[in-house]
């Protein structure tokens, strides 16, 4: 298939960017979206134009490194990561626009590459259980009901890609934060720090410049791991409880 690609190019964080148009011929429907960009980059390199910078690593949908706005949708038209999106989801002759994640809290570094360091800083504020190596009790000393363990796992599958933020009209990271707060809050091991965790993570979230949640649901629709919207309800509930406890 033949495609017209409109791609955001920006030399660095401080220089203004613009959309550039490229034509790409003979695209195989079996290529992944990123392989299509690889082919375009080979073509650009050949022509003496610097290849387009974009992030990817595992290319099997689990590391969370890739992420592009494709025709205005985070990760494109399917519920999956950009690396797992294939060209058979597009049609011959189509014009495809490709932009970096849209969020003030994720500044563009170059072309399609953004800085998602804010996510790490949110985790630093309590997205963990404080247990030093070697001090753990025998694993079977604390049973966990299977339903809780299963749900904790489901929300712990968040890959931290940032699609939720990119899709949200408010640029909120509530789904990301709610997933972590719910994961750790469901487990007995997560209880001692539960109040402090949610308060500190939310404070950092706001400090980073992410917006508030207004229950639109674009985040969960765009999430490649289908993290459910109700983790945000849990986040709000935990926050209310913590405040009640005097935090």
């Amino acid at each position: 298939m033949n495609l017209t690609l409109k791609i955001w190019r920006q030399p660095d964080a401080t220089t203004a960017g613009a959309m550039h148009t490229y034509e790409l011929a003979d695209v195989s429907p079996d290529m992944s979206f990123l392989e299509m960009l690889d082919v375009l980059n080979e073509q650009l390199n050949e022509q003496g134009e610097e290849p387009i910078a974009f992030d990817s690593d595992c290319r099997e949908g689990i590391c969370g490194m890739c992420g592009l706005m494709i025709n205005g949708d985070a990760h494109g038209p399917e519920v999956t990561t950009t690396c797992q999106l294939h060209m058979r989801s597009f049609v011959d002759g189509e014009t495809i626009t490709v932009e970096p994640w849209r969020s003030d809290a994720f500044p563009v570094l170059k072309d399609l590459v953004v800085d998602r360091g804010a996510f790490d800083r949110i985790i630093q504020q309590g997205g963990y259980i404080s247990v030093n190596t070697g001090s753990a009790p025998e694993a079977h000393s604390v049973p966990v009901p299977k339903d809780d363990a299963d749900r904790a796992f489901n929300v712990a599958t968040c890959i931290g890609c940032g699609a939720c933020v990119a899709a949200c009209p408010n640029g909120s990271a509530s789904l990301f934060m709610g997933a972590k707060v719910t994961h750790l809050g469901l487990l007995p091991q997560g209880q001692p720090e539960r109040d402090e965790r949610v308060v500190n993570m939310v404070a950092q979230h706001d400090h980073e410049g992410f917006g508030g949640c207004t229950n639109i649901g674009e985040c969960t629709a765009a999430c490649p791991k289908e993290i459910p919207l109700d983790v945000i309800s849990q986040l709000n509930k935990d926050l209310r409880t913590a405040i009640k406890h005097g935090h």
Partner: protein, 675 residues
């Protein structure tokens, strides 16, 4: 470095080695002194780790904050070590090339993690896990290390559960286990098909906690490009800030490489796009020996290549072989047909035919090699790429008929979905296509029992070292080793080294720092000014083709010699004709790749020399010259029960081979048979 004397290939073509043994690699290397691991204590294997922990000197808590540690890589081995050493109070600096430590490729491990908990009361024990691992490695691993790995395995599970890793549980609330990788006990802990992800997130969170506490400084989007060795000790690294291009010097009392494996030397592998050998290879060039580099693991059940655009391969769980039947058409003429139209009598269920007792469940290397053989015969299926169809059918029609579609769906649904998403085919109605792919490397930098390389002060953990898996790794053992090294082994052994520190401060104008800095600048400058005609990727792909063809599952003397010549030619061409656009002072992904491919090319040559030297079939490797009358792998313990540790010989000289003899006191060597 002095240039060692070498025997040229012409002088010694096809001859006896210097020590009298038959050795195909004569002329490609210089024999060196034997190597001995001096750190493992003597005595019964079960007591050695306790002894070493006691004998390793302690560092007073008040002194720890004066000691600095650099850790390169934030996968299971790196993140766990960084968190643990930070908790202990050392000053830690951690580096990763990704935008966050949580991206490291440990995250992609699917199956599970072994631990000798014996929760199923099915006869498991530390000794059995030790035994299975040594046997699985085909008696090419070091027994002291493997025993220790089995010994600390149970602690890993305790630690991870305490961190909130959501392992699968039973209805009673206790942890579930499954049997994995052909062993007869259920000792594998898992979190659905995403165990690596959950373990890495656990280690990542522990690391982020230390970053918040100020004990660890994290440098994301930084790539180590050189090791600084000053006054005989590893004292720091040169790293490039991949966003600004700034080339930085980072100094410390000790350096730890947890930089993962080098499977991407094959270009296509299940590794992440960025996985590379540069950190390990730069250390190798500075004096760290590289051990058993030819030991790579090839996984039989990956999704085949769909075209020349292919950038990486995706693994599907081996559990598929429990119910799927593997076949190709008997006749080449049927290869293009719709498989559903090929009648039963025209299909060759080749694994069931050749290995009637194990059938489709033969070990990974046998299944992989058989698939390559039928495709090389011209009976492969799927799209033709570069003139060959590389794929075999994995057919669930019989399983669906026997168990029902629902049962198959509940067992394999997520894998079928993944397959359908990537290939666009429905595996419930059309047989899946699979092909082997490089998945893991057992080879890596040589380390002693303390995980210290041949450069004092340079420690190596996880897949980056060679120590625990011998010539083949058991399923669910990679995660175990990464976390064992990082949480429980390195923190104890590194203190013995640090007890002599802090070492004398190194100035930025120390000759070793200046030299390392300069060499990095020169390399960058070179790549940006060649202005040739070929892209970095095109060289990488060509290297991968050479490695896959001649240094993959089946190796021959002639093939390996040919590969070495091809790689040398490729290397020359690469330095003269590569085309890297853009500047150094900005984010430049072509430049990053150029450095990595340059190192892969050199590594590829060493892998071929190592494979040439090892004229035996062992573990995952088949040397065509070493097989039984009925075509089975034949190991030669008399000649090859050693670790091949290679010393860099210099740009224009052959590498030096140091052999470490493998001695087994607690286990008896046996040949395996799957017929």
């Amino acid at each position: 470095m002095d240039m060692p004397d070498t025997v040229t290939a012409a002088e010694a073509s096809h001859s006896e080695a210097l020590d009298g043994d038959y050795d195909d690699a004569v002329g490609y290397y210089t024999p060196g002194e034997p190597l001995v691991d001096t750190k493992a204590p003597d005595g019964p294997v079960a007591d050695r780790w306790q002894t070493r922990k006691f004998e390793a000197r302690l560092v007073n808590p008040a002194n720890r904050r004066k000691l600095s540690i650099i850790i390169v890589g934030t996968g299971l081995a790196g993140a766990s070590a960084a968190a643990t050493l930070g908790e202990a109070g050392y000053n830690v600096k951690t580096f990763c090339y990704q935008d966050s430590p949580r991206r490291a490729h440990s995250i992609a491990a699917q199956g599970g993690i072994n631990a000798a908990k014996n929760y199923k009361e099915d006869g498991d024990s530390v000794h059995r896990l030790f035994y299975d691992t040594v046997k699985g490695g085909d008696y090419r691993s070091r027994e002291s290390n493997v025993y220790r790995l089995a010994e600390v395995s149970a602690n890993i599970i305790d630690q991870c559960v305490a961190q909130g890793v959501p392992f699968a549980r039973e209805y009673g609330g206790l942890l579930d286990n499954r049997s994995f990788g052909g062993v007869q006990v259920s000792r594998t802990f898992y979190a659905r098909g995403q165990t690596g992800q959950q373990l890495l997130i656990g280690a990542y969170q522990a690391l982020e906690r230390q970053i918040s506490a100020g004990t660890v400084s994290m440098f994301t989007r930084h790539e180590m490009l050189e090791l600084i060795v000053a006054d005989g000790k590893a004292r720091g690294i040169i790293a490039r800030d991949m966003v600004t291009g700034e080339v930085q010097t980072h100094l410390a009392d000790v350096v730890v490489l947890a930089s993962g494996g080098y499977g991407n030397v094959f270009y296509l592998s299940t590794n992440a796009m960025g996985s590379n050998v540069t950190a390990a290879w730069r250390a190798h060039r500075k004096g760290a020996y590289m051990a058993n580099p030819c030991y790579t693991q090839i996984h039989p059940t990956c999704i085949p290549v769909s075209g020349s655009h292919q950038s990486k391969l995706t693994l599907m769980s081996e559990s598929l072989r429990n119910d799927g039947r593997i076949w190709v058409p008997k006749s080449q003429a049927d290869c293009e047909k719709d498989p559903r139209d090929i009648p039963e009598e025209d299909r060759d269920y080749y694994l069931e035919r050749i290995y009637p007792s194990f059938g489709n469940l033969v070990p990974r290397d046998i299944a992989s090699r058989a698939a390559k053989n039928v495709c090389d015969e011209g009976r492969g299926v799927g799209p033709e790429v570069d003139g060959v169809r590389r794929g075999v059918y994995l057919d669930f029609a019989e399983a669906i008929e026997r168990l029902g579609r629902d049962a198959v769906e509940s067992k394999y649904g997520n894998l079928f979905d993944m397959y359908a998403r990537i290939t666009g085919e429905d595996p419930y109605s059309v047989p899946m296509r699979i092909y082997p792919a490089v998945h893991y490397v057992m080879g890596g930098l040589w380390v002693d029992y303390d995980l210290q390389s041949t450069i004092p002060g340079l420690f190596v953990t996880g897949e980056a070292n060679f120590s625990d898996h011998g010539a083949n790794r058991l399923g669910a053992s990679a995660l175990m080793q990464g976390l064992a090294d990082g949480y429980f082994v390195l923190p104890h052994t590194i203190r013995d080294y640090l007890a002599d520190g802090p070492f004398e401060a190194i100035a930025d104008d120390h000759p070793a720092v200046v030299e390392a800095h300069e060499s990095v600048h020169q390399r960058i400058e070179h790549f940006l000014t060649v202005n040739g005609t070929r892209s970095v990727d095109s060289y990488h792909r060509e290297l991968g083709n050479i490695m896959w063809e001649y240094c993959g599952m089946e190796r021959t003397e002639d093939g390996l010699r040919k590969a070495i010549d091809l790689i040398r030619g490729l290397r020359d061409d690469f330095y003269r004709n590569v085309k890297v656009l853009g500047a150094s002072e900005s984010l430049n992904q072509s430049l990053e790749k150029a450095g990595r491919v340059a190192d892969f090319i050199e590594l590829g040559e060493l892998m071929c020399i190592d494979a040439l030297n090892r004229r035996e079939s062992c573990g995952g490797h088949f040397r065509a010259e070493s097989q039984t009358e009925d075509g089975e792998a034949l190991r030669h313990d008399e000649e090859y029960a050693y670790v091949a540790a290679w010393e860099w010989g210099g740009d224009d000289s052959a590498p030096v081979l140091h052999k470490e003899d493998l001695v087994y006191t607690a286990i008896e060597m046996k040949q395996r048979s799957y017929k």
